[in-house]
Symmetry: D2
Subunit: 340 residues, 4 copies
């Protein structure tokens, strides 16, 4: 029984993906993305996103996908509008600044790690256009599922990406939990992606070993992006092992199925937590929960289950994430431990 | 029969390493290097290098290992002395410049991609110390097995690293083929590493899926190097899959055994090539061969075997590399094809 | 009559400084800071700051002084705590990010462009220490006179720099209006600088042609800082023309005298503005005023006087700055125009 | 009598330029390039270069002009082809790497610091196009007058810039001694510039206090280049003092007249040196001389005259430069000292 709810990156690789890795482990394959699996991966993502001209690069980390995508969109003297809680701001140790050559992030507040249209407009108003002294407007980066476990609706996304597009800015989706967002919204990948120029399409948190796809709507950027990936030291030599992960992840809807499982576990856990008296910090809309509970409740699970503790005190803020392996029994056992 | 001799990165993952990956694929593991396998990896490399204070970081690409190591050794206004043919100069798309914040590479010529002590001294003489107008001396980076398939002897390395150390410079070994060098020199890892501050200890080309160890003699740099790795987007979340690769690679001398196999295939191939009239461009001392052959000879293998063609013409320069999977039968078959 | 109140950089060079430039314009002088005037400049600033080990670099722009100082204090993976309105955030087009290799600025709000100790502590609490995912604490940068024309008291500065020092962070003072701050606070340069490691000591806005001194308390950083300046393309060849400006600026207290004149004009203007019904946006404590006035009042001066218009509307926010050349007659004339 | 021949940056400011600075020192002027003199400077350079769409930026250092121009022409993953002795390689402390975000310099050898067309072609052949592993071709940077005091003829320049243009590369002229080149070649500025996209048009070495013009043929780059200049901390606030220098320098052909004077002094010195037995290291074609002389000859001038000593030994290599102030009497006195 796996009672580690610390993150959706603590779990193993989904069996169909591991099987594909093992199956590919024979004979020679051309390196650096010239393997036989990669064209299929690109085509599958073109179909999924309904972007017929799209190009795809695979990298091994989510930070890598985000920062290469952003570097392909903004000049060093521009700024990226993002939520204050965004992964690119809080959890990438300045990698966006590194890869963009020193672009700025303009941080926007908002409940549940969501940016409201007015807040975006207000932030954009501060950043000059044609004022030589300040940085310039560069791109908008959104995360869905957000870092708080909430969702932007399709309408929310359309509103925000529309504002950015009207201002001539590029748009980037940090889709580390892209699949969980689709599953929770009941929408297609194409719908989720429709307002964006570049998408970090996550695999690692949802059953892969370590692969994320940078999906760029505009295939004309492919060559530059390849150079950026190589220069970023993120081009795999035995690339087939990235390709087959992504191929297996996309095959027969495994990506969506895994996400549905994870989301269902998350919803079951959230309902249970509410039942036993935990208070949701945000509405948990997918597989990630932020809640406050009495210290005594938390202490009862100590040493038997794991999850994130975001602060201390009498009612600590806890972060719990269900990955695609979480069973009802595991969720219920955690609740049992907490309830005492 | 695998007749791809294009590189030692076209082959599959060694079975014991794939087995270890599969075996580790169960339950939860802490991410980002906090998994249960990593301490053992560090200890094994400390023992192997006889560096009791060493720290180890794992990354997925050889370029990543090289450039993080170099970035940890030189300031942006310094220069790295390296061979003109070095991987860091020729095959990393400027990643060293990117990661170091714009340090320079001072290129040195030399037969067989080897730097001679006098050539190093001459290059260092040009770079000022305490001259504000030029860049400053930073580090020496050597590759062994070299990019030409030749070797530095231990004495060669001692001479070069001694010059660097006397000048207060750091020393880096690009050991993408570290194991092949040990096998060919008949020396221990500790002997090969003894003159260096930082070693890129390669796994990928010699049986791993994608893992390289940055071994730093001075453990005090560990925290800074961890930040550099994260900021470089090279910190794996499901890090266990890097750890177990390296653990299996180091276990029971697999690293050395694979290299011996590869080198033996390389030597067999070189001897055969000489026999059929190919001319060695450099003395092939490990598993990589650069040779010139009549155009007609090359044409006979076309479409049936693969290897690198470095130039065109009547006597093209060919690059052939044997990885740890190459059998005598495969080597002989290639020779047969070429001989006609 | 000069009715340009747009900035203290629209004015001419003070006569004693221009005289010194002209006087130095004869014969040969060694370039790059090896001229005969520079040692005296360094010694004068050592005395003024009471920093016997200090070293000094001269550059031609305030942005240059700020960003070189910051680059000498923070690693690329660190953050600089600064006010949201700070010049380094708002008016340097990302130069701090460029020169630091991509360090972040953590922005803090506060009335009158002043940071309160609790606000600094709160911002620092968000930035992890020893959390590999986020950037690390780097330095505190304060501006005095602030960007709103207000002042930090010596006690304010001691409190803030104390917090930074206790956390192991470096401290930087953007002293573009250092002299105006000393004049307004009635304190010595040494008192104003006492909590800081690096000071941008401004000359340009207060009578020089274009020279700012980076005064570093720790002389051991001198060589690195010289390299950073050269690499930043900010090392003058005919350096004597920077040295003599600064020498003349420091001679016989000209720096302080000019600032007193400017501040007196600023205070006269502020009093007059209040009298005619303008509303101060912040308490104008030196030579810079932010005020709101009826649109009609503003319109009366249009085309006859110049100053900054920060927004539009019925009661626009206006920025007026008095430099050391502003006479009582010029101030009164502006008031007359506005009063109608 | 000024016997400093160390460089053409040790001399004073030409009187007409100093007069213009003093004359401009009255009243208010808009900062940051919005002064009344700047449009005239731009127009004068458009005329001089016969580039009707050109835009012009002024900066205070030659390194600044070079690196901003190069940064505007190459991507971080590209390389700049330049002579091994070029100022951008040898005398800018890595500023090109800094400003370009880590582009490489590909160094080319050649007598007299001149690149031969075949040498350029050979260097370009090594740099891949569409090879993801290496850096890409970016730009060609030439210096005229060269760093050895020799000249490229107009035909030489046409050949080299033609090769670059045919390969799709940008072309940059380091014209720190642009005027000396025009004077020596007897050509117009337009002729000298005709093959280039960006020119660093030097003023400082030839009579200005500290001003260099970046002249960009393609005015469409103006806004980006302005942002780069600001971000590089090279945008002057009291910009009028840059504008008036350049305006005076361009007025009535002062730039060319100064260069003719300097070149004549250089030629007189070279003839004299030959007469007394010094051996020219390169043909001195403008105002800079590299020669070897017996140690005893050098020793006779010690302490009475200054010039560069490039190496030690029995026949040291000496560098002597004449600026526009050098009189025949000063040249003859140096010869007298050396001759003994």
């Amino acid at each position: 029984m796996n009672l580690n709810f610390a993150s959706d990156n603590t779990g193993p690789v989904a069996q169909p993906i591991m099987d594909a890795i093992v199956a590919a482990n024979t004979g020679a394959a051309m390196p650096y993305g010239d393997d036989d699996w990669m064209p299929g991966v690109r085509d599958a993502l073109r179909d999924l996103f309904d972007w017929p001209e799209a190009e795809v690069l695979l990298v091994a980390t989510g930070t890598g996908a985000n920062v290469l995508a952003l570097a392909g969109m903004v000049a060093p003297w521009e700024t990226i509008f993002a939520h204050r809680n965004s992964h690119i701001e809080r959890s990438e140790c300045g990698a966006p600044e590194f890869y963009t050559g020193g672009a700025k992030l303009t941080l926007i507040d908002g409940e549940g790690s969501r940016i409201a249209p007015d807040a975006l407009r207000a932030a954009m108003a501060v950043v000059g256009t044609k004022d030589i002294h300040g940085v310039q407007r560069g791109a908008l980066s959104l995360t869905n599922v957000t870092e708080s476990g909430t969702l932007y609706s399709l309408d929310d996304l359309d509103a925000l990406t529309g504002i950015a597009r009207d201002a001539g800015m590029g748009t980037h989706l940090d889709g580390a939990r892209f699949a969980n967002a689709c599953a929770a919204l009941g929408c297609s990948a194409a719908q989720l992606a429709r307002g964006f120029d570049m998408v970090s399409f996550g695999g690692t948190k949802n059953g892969c070993m370590g692969v994320e796809a940078i999906v760029m709507r505009d295939g004309a950027k492919h060559w530059e992006m390849q150079l950026r990936r190589k220069r970023g030291a993120q081009l795999w030599s035995k690339h087939r092992y990235l390709s087959v992960q992504m191929a297996a992840y996309l095959k027969d809807g495994l990506w969506l199925e895994n996400a549905r499982t994870a989301n269902a576990a998350g919803q079951r856990l959230a309902a249970g937590l509410r039942r036993i008296g935990a208070e949701m910090a945000h509405e948990p809309q997918a597989n990630m929960i932020f809640c406050r509970m009495p210290r005594a409740m938390h202490d009862r699970a100590l040493g038997q289950a794991r999850y994130g503790l975001m602060d201390e005190g009498e009612r600590p803020l806890c972060r719990m994430v269900c990955d695609f392996t979480k069973t009802e029994a595991e969720v219920d056992r955690l609740l049992e431990l907490l309830a005492g």
